[in-house]
Amino acid sequence: MKNSQLYKGSLNTIIMKLLGENGRMYGYEITHKVKEITKGELNITEGALYPALHKLEAEGLLDVETEKVDNRVRKYYKLTKIGQTETINRLAELEEFIRNMQSIVNPKLA
């Protein structure tokens, strides 16, 4: 992951935002989607993605579903009701963070 320290704090929000847009997704799909959106700039590592998903699940923000696909079992994640509300809060928080950073890094633009 590029500058992983900077992205680290936003990983959960990124995951929740994607799930909010796409309904349900599985782990591999999420890493793939992030890569696609950021044109390969942001690469969520497997070692960070699954712990984040499992934590959100334990907190009751995500729900899981499984399905047999080809010859294996696939686990899908989706937002719970609480998760949906929390996504809105966290996105607002992230946007505020971006705005504040902008005014510090580039005061003229802000």
Partner: protein, 232 residues
């Protein structure tokens, strides 16, 4: 699209087991992840062997392999378990169960107030619950061990339920308190009431983790693992 065969999937399960992923739930998720990665890469480089691509995909997990994922999964599930215990505990403070809680606390208060050697009675009560829990835990450990030897599918949440999510570490705490401050709790009615409440709570937590939750294990596993039904 190059799809993996049944045999490849078996190989991937073996691979996760060899890399210290002991529980079926996490194995399944990682197998699907590796399989997706391998299929995509195979498309790009059809000349590489299955093992070579698997090696490349595994590298993406970093130097510690699946360790981070396993550890964090354990932590997340333990947290989920604690939340479950707390949920059941709170039920004892809602109607109708709160009537029982109040009754038990008052009853114990009266007993401790009037009993001769009441500090010993309190210690015995706590010790009794602690020893009972200890034996239950050993019984479960032995059962778990035989399950491992039989090579059955292991579910992390099931193991947390039968090892009581390490809450037992706290079992020694009330005993410690009573041993170090035996007279402290008997100074006045308030402190005695608090002691009675604490002992009742201690019994409630024991009852929840030793009886209530284990009796609903199947239900909780189904709730936690949608794949539980498919794989049985």
């Amino acid at each position: 699209m190059m799809n993996l065969t049944e045999k490849h999937i078996e190989q991937l399960y073996d691979f996760t087991r060899k890399h210290f992923v002991e529980h079926y739930d996490l194995q399944t998720e990682l197998v699907d992840h590796l399989a997706n990665g391998i299929e995509a890469k195979w498309q790009e480089n059809p000349k590489l062997t299955f093992e070579e691509i698997l090696g490349l995909e595994f590298k993406k997990f970093g130097v510690f392999g699946f360790m981070d994922v396993v550890e964090n999964r354990q932590m997340a599930m333990t947290k989920k378990y604690h939340k479950l215990v707390w949920k059941h505990f709170k039920e004892f403070f809602e109607v109708p169960k709160i009537i029982f809680t109040i009754f038990a606390t008052v009853f114990l208060f009266i007993v401790l107030k009037n009993a001769t050697l009441n500090d010993i009675v309190a210690v015995i009560l706590v010790l009794f619950a602690a020893i009972f829990a200890f034996f239950e835990m050993i019984k479960n450990q032995l059962k778990m061990k035989s399950q491992i030897e039989e090579n059955k599918k292991r579910w992390l949440f099931e193991e947390i339920i039968s090892s009581y999510g390490n809450i037992m570490v706290m079992a020694a705490m009330p005993i410690q308190i009573l041993i170090h401050f035996p007279k402290f709790a008997f100074i006045n009615n308030y402190s005695l009431l608090i002691l009675s409440f604490l002992i009742v709570s201690y019994y409630l937590v024991n009852y929840i983790i030793l009886k209530i939750i284990p009796s609903k294990t199947e239900e909780y596993l189904r709730e936690t693992y949608p794949e539980y039904e498919i794989s049985k």
